[in-house]
C-alpha cells in the first residue's frame, strides 16, 4: 500500500523526465547504429561488452560439455572397441587417399615449376571448439573458444571436415565470433570444380541452402556440381569445397537462372571447426595468376562477406 502511494506521488514529477531519458537513449542508439553500420570503430566496445557476455556463454555451454564429458567417461568397453575399429578403418582409407595425394601434389609442384608459377603452400590449421551458435535467424553467428591470444584474426576462414563453414568477424581475446556461409549477409566467391565457372554463393538464412544469384540462363551448371572456394575474395584460400548444386531452374524470360546449392559442411551439426592460416596470402607473386584469369569472367569481384 505504502509503495503504491509513493509511486503516485512521484509519478507527476517523473513522467517528463522519463520521456527525456527515452529521447536521449534513442538518440544514442541511433548514433551507435549508424556508426556501427558504416565503420568498424566500435570493435573495442563490442570486445569489452563481449567479455562480460563470456561467462554467460560458459554457463550455457556447461550442460552440453559436461554431458559430453560424462558420455566419454562412461562409454562401455564395447562402444570404445567399436569406435576404435571404425576410426582405424577410416584412418586406413584416408591414408590410402593421402598416398595418391602426395603423388599428385609432387606432380602439381613439378608442373607449376615448369610453368614458372608459384607453388602452392600448405595451409596451417588449428582446431577450435564451438561454444554457441546464435539463435537469431537474421544473423548466423557462432562463437568459438579461440581468440586473438591464439592468433585468430578478423576475416580468417573456418572449415570443418567436409567444407567451408564461415569466417571470423570479431576476434575477441578469449573467444571469437564467426559468421556462417548461410548468413543472409554473407557472400562467398566460388567456382564450379568441373569447369572453373566463377560465381558468388550467397547465404539465405537457411542452414541447408545457398543461392547462386548471378548465373545467366546459359551458364554451364548442373545438378550435383561441386562448388569450391576460388580464393578471389582474399578471405578464403582456394580449393576448399563449399556446396553441391541441388537445384537449377532456368527462367527463359529472366536474365538469371535460379540456382541453389547445399553446403558441404554440416553447418548446424558441427562441434569443432578448423581455423586456417593461409600461407599463400602473403605471397605477392601469387596475385598475378588469378588476375590473368579475371579477364575471362564478367563477374564483379565480391567481398568475402560483410564487415
Amino acid at each position: 500500500m505504502a509503495a503504491n502511494t509513493a509511486d503516485r506521488e512521484h509519478r507527476s514529477t517523473k513522467t517528463p523526465a522519463l520521456g527525456l531519458r527515452l529521447l536521449l537513449l534513442a538518440a544514442l542508439s541511433v548514433i551507435l547504429l549508424v556508426v556501427d553500420h558504416r565503420q568498424n570503430h566500435l570493435d573495442a566496445v563490442r570486445k569489452a561488452i563481449g567479455a562480460t557476455v563470456y561467462p554467460l556463454r560458459v554457463i550455457v555451454d556447461a550442460p552440453v560439455s559436461s554431458w559430453r564429458w560424462f558420455r566419454e567417461n562412461t562409454a562401455t568397453r564395447n562402444e570404445l572397441l567399436l569406435e576404435m575399429s571404425r576410426l582405424n578403418a577410416e584412418r586406413l582409407l584416408t591414408h590410402a587417399r593421402l598416398q595418391r595425394f602426395t603423388a599428385l601434389e609432387s606432380e602439381n609442384a613439378r608442373l607449376r615449376a615448369m610453368l614458372d608459377a608459384t607453388g602452392k603452400v600448405r595451409d596451417q590449421v588449428q582446431v577450435a571448439e564451438i561454444m554457441s551458435v546464435s539463435a537469431n535467424p537474421f544473423r548466423h553467428i557462432l562463437v568459438i573458444n579461440k581468440g586473438s591470444r591464439d592468433g585468430v584474426f578478423n576475416g580468417q576462414a573456418m572449415i570443418d571436415a567436409d567444407g567451408v563453414v564461415g569466417q571470423v568477424i570479431e576476434a575477441g581475446l578469449l573467444s571469437s565470433n564467426g559468421v556462417l556461409i548461410s548468413d543472409p549477409d554473407h557472400a562467398l566467391p566460388v567456382e564450379v570444380n568441373r569447369n572453373g565457372l566463377r560465381t558468388i554463393a550467397v547465404g539465405t538464412g537457411d542452414f541447408d541452402r545457398l543461392e547462386l544469384p548471378f548465373l545467366p540462363n546459359n551458364a554451364d551448371i548442373e545438378l550435383g556440381d561441386l562448388l569450391v572456394t576460388s580464393g578471389l575474395g582474399g578471405a578464403f584460400p582456394p580449393g576448399y569445397p563449399v556446396a553441391i548444386v541441388d537445384s537449377v531452374t532456368r527462367i527463359p524470360q529472366g536474365p538469371f537462372a535460379e540456382v541453389t546449392a547445399r553446403p558441404a559442411a554440416r553447418l548446424n551439426q558441427v562441434r569443432e571447426i578448423m581455423l586456417i592460416w593461409s600461407a599463400a596470402k602473403e605471397d605477392p607473386a601469387d596475385a598475378t595468376v588469378p588476375a590473368a584469369e579475371e579477364t575471362a569472367s564478367p563477374e564483379p569481384e565480391p567481398t568475402g562477406g560483410d564487415n
Binding site: V35, A135, N136, R139, I141, G205
Partner: protein
C-alpha cells in the same frame, strides 16, 4: 533493503539473457520467446521507478553483442517498449490477465516491428516467420512468466 530488493531482479535479467543465447533445436528456434522483453515489461510495470528505460537500454546493448546484431538495435527496441510500459504501468497493473496478455502482445509486436524496421534500413532481410514466431510464443508464455515473477516479487517484499 534496496540492494536485497534489486538482486533477484538482476538475476532474472541475467537468466533472461542466458535463455536468449541457449542453443535450441532447429524446429524450435524460430519460436524462441524474447525473454528479455517479457522480463523487462514485468519489472518496469511493477517497479517503474527502479527499472525503466535505462535498465532496458543496457540489457539491449548486451543482447546486441550476444546476438551479433547492430549495436543499438535491441537497445532501442527494448527502451521504447519499456517506456510505454512505464508510462502506462498504473493502467496495466489493474488489468485482468486476459487484457494484460493482449497488451503484452501489442508491446511485443511493437518490439518486433522496431527490430524489423532497423533490419530493413540496414539491409538485412529474413523470413516473416522469424518475426511472428517469438510474438506467438511470448504471448502464450506471458501468464506463466507473470505468475512466476509475481511469486518472486511477493516473497521479496514480504522478507524486506
Amino acid at each position: 533493503m534496496n540492494a536485497s530488493r534489486r538482486l533477484p531482479v538482476l538475476i532474472c535479467i541475467i537468466v533472461a539473457l542466458t535463455l536468449a543465447i541457449v542453443p535450441m533445436p532447429d524446429w524450435a528456434s524460430p519460436y524462441r520467446p524474447d525473454w528479455a522483453v517479457l522480463t523487462l515489461i514485468y519489472w518496469s510495470m511493477s517497479m517503474p521507478r527502479t527499472y525503466s528505460v535505462g535498465t532496458a537500454w543496457i540489457t539491449g546493448i548486451v543482447l546486441d553483442v550476444a546476438h551479433g546484431t547492430l549495436l543499438g538495435q535491441h537497445a532501442l527496441a527494448l527502451a521504447f517498449v519499456t517506456y510505454l510500459t512505464t508510462k502506462f504501468h498504473l493502467q496495466l497493473r489493474v488489468f485482468p490477465m486476459s487484457q494484460m496478455t493482449a497488451t503484452v502482445l501489442a508491446l511485443l509486436a511493437i518490439y518486433q516491428f522496431i527490430l524489423f524496421w532497423i533490419n530493413g534500413v540496414a539491409g538485412t532481410y529474413a523470413d516473416a516467420v522469424a518475426y511472428w514466431g517469438p510474438l506467438i510464443s511470448g504471448t502464450l508464455l506471458w501468464p506463466l512468466v507473470a505468475h512466476f515473477f509475481s511469486g518472486i516479487r511477493y516473497r521479496n517484499t514480504r522478507t524486506s
